[in-house]
Amino acid sequence: MGIDVFLEYELLGVSHPGRYLGTEVNARNKPFSEASVRWALIYPDVYEIGMSNLGLSILYEIINDTTEAMADRAYLPWVDMQERLLECGVPLFGLESRRPLASFDILGITLQHELTYTNVVRILDLAGIPLLARERDEVCPLVIGGGPGAFNPEPIAELFDFLVLGDGEEAVLEITDAVRNWKQEKTLDRSDFLRQCASIPGIYVPSLYKFAYRADGTIDSITAEAGAPNPVKKRLLSDLDGWLYPRRPVVPLIEAVHDRVSVELFRGCTRGCRFCQAGMIYRPVRERDGRLLANWARELVANTGCDELSLTSLNSADYTSILSLSEELAMEMESRHVAVSVPSLRTDSFSVQLASRLRRVKQTGLTLAPEAGSARMRASINKGVSEEDLMRAVAAAYGEGWRKLKLYFMIGLPSEGEEDVEEIWRVVRRIMREGDSGAPAKGLKLSVSISTFVPKPHTPLQWAAQMTPPEIARRHFILKEGLRMKGVTLRWHSREMSYLEGIISRGDRRLLPAVISASRQGCLDGWGEFFSWRRWEEALATEGLNPAWYAERERPFDEILPWDHLHCGVERDYLWEEYRKAGEGESTPDCRIRDCTFCGACPGKGASA
């Protein structure tokens, strides 16, 4: 059955058919047949999540702006649509061109989260493409990966012909050129072409690296084939201003999770929270020019009719001229009834005042993330926020009229005791009493969100043990008992999901068969109702893999980690020193405020000896 006919007959029977139409305003629709290099940019989750991703939207713009190339989009269809596709024998297709994914030259898949890895397998299965890179022949598309997951892709690395580490803007153009030449000249076979790609900076070709293991299960060596870089260093754009930015982005047909347009203020963050992967792999901080940003914001609103503009980054209150920029935009946008928002704020009164000045058009919520309840734990993760900072931020928010606040805490940190968890409810209770200068805070409602610490590669805590689900359950119980009070709602992440995230995030290549079998047995981990820890346990057991060995084991310094051949700039020694400081509760200042701490991320600044 042809894809057009399939859509005509089947779309009415699936939920939210708008996900599959590809007829959005501002979709580029470049003709498939005229392009010499055809990309499908894929977000391995449902449409309304994928459409909110800025990274893919940037690459879509850059590729479609080159004369000879085109970029289409694809997402993972919801299960009802997956069933229709399979039943009708129709392969997964690009939304705009309605061509099978298998007919593209390059499938570019972004890896934003470990719990989407089973989705990646499902996408390739639905596209009818051999899963393993080594099983694909000349007519198959190149399957390439990017995003934060590329910094430890090992559990699914063998699905990819190659991955791109770091900023993608320049790399996608070089890849486009390489593929065009390869197709025209037809002199290299696929494996030689991949060898050639390995010389493009930032490109990791998994098939050129071999892992050897010891009897105790640890890695004995990671060897790169001659000519392949070891380590592979990430791509880093030192100046973002010269690059294209999507100012006429595709407007989702159905409501996206973040239903707004965004300007990216800067990339990177040097606050140095020790659990945060984004804070390490995107270093250093690179700000965009304020005049450019203001103009882009105007264009974005004019070109989409969107009613919310977001000033995004990992920590927007840190943007140098955040006050003048946000003030200027808020004033201008107010007359157009467009709300301006600043997500991811610090926990201090400056941030609260900033949020309150922006709150002209729309009553937006306010989220504060002290991360840990006790001063000891906050020192350990290098979160430079004191309880008084938090109290002042809450008082400021209350004073500005906020009555609903969201608080984020993380539990399960290394060396955390139950008394540290009790501190969380103690702080929350104090807030409820003191919202308004010491008197009980009338009408204040707190939503307390608890996440579970998951050790992530390329962070100081990458060596740490993850807490077991039963221990986390006990902590959840402590919080539940301690926070039985009016006005407070408590929610936490699924313990099993966090545990699985931990297994995959520090996993190695031996996990791949389990990922594939879990996916083929119906696990789509990010989608709550299709997550099944029981099936995962079976899949791991069948492969002879011990979940606890991956998640709960503290690693010694000299153990080879599955991502030691991939380099984000920040040096391993630096991370180890930070790990030691975490144990001692010593702080490391932000290098934008104080001196360089020689993490290694800035070209030319060098790393500590």
Partner: protein
């Protein structure tokens, strides 16, 4: 404050956009159009808009309506052009006109909907009350109609269009020819109305 009535069509694949998604698309196009919209007050101001009764998913339409309030002088023709360049494929603005104060509100006159239904021997017209006592669901009406026409129940929704909205059942014959099936939701029965004029 003035009012404008916008008439739009929803053809082809745009029929697969829900009412809510259609409203969003139209709102965004309006925001881009330069029409000086009037917004509601309160915590979450929205353009003051009202829509003709929701169209079930999968049904196309030739003449749906949207009423907006605006302030000041404006070139409605130009606004329509901008809107048309900023709508998903299949949605299009057919007409936009200023309403005088005396003209009734949208909800007052969009009481009947006329549907064109493709059949084995050419198309037939089906009329439904969208408000009031005889109001019916399209699904039930179609089931009766298909039975009457000897077609299997649950036949295709594809190809069905809502072609007009009216204040009374007498106005429909202009668009539907001399006779039309009317499904009385109260009685749950299909009857044939013929033009008595």
């Amino acid at each position: 404050m003035k009012r404008a009535l916008i008439k739009y069509a929803k053809r082809g694949e745009a029929a697969l956009l829900s009412h809510r998604e259609t409203m969003r698309s139209l709102e965004r196009a309006l925001r881009r159009s330069g029409l000086p919209l009037v917004f509601t007050s309160g915590y979450n101001p929205r353009p003051r808009m009202s829509f003709s009764p929701a169209l079930p998913l999968g049904i196309q339409a030739e003449a749906e309506y949207l009423e907006v309030s605006f302030d000041g002088e404006t070139d409605l023709e130009a606004a329509m052009q901008v809107m048309n360049s900023a709508l998903p494929k299949g949605l299009s603005i057919i007409d936009i006109q200023e309403l005088t104060a005396s003209m009734p509100k949208l909800s007052k006159w969009t009481r009947y909907g006329l549907y064109r239904v493709p059949g084995d021997v050419g198309e037939v017209f089906l009329l439904l009350a969208l408000a009031g006592g005889k109001q019916a669901r399209l699904k039930d009406a179609l089931a009766s109609l298909w039975q009457r026409l000897g077609l299997p129940i649950g036949s295709e929704l594809r190809g069905i269009s809502r072609v007009g909205l009216y204040a009374s059942d007498e106005e429909v014959f202009e668009d539907a020819g001399d006779s039309v099936y009317f499904f009385d939701g109260e009685l749950g029965e299909l009857e044939v109305l013929t033009n008595s004029v």
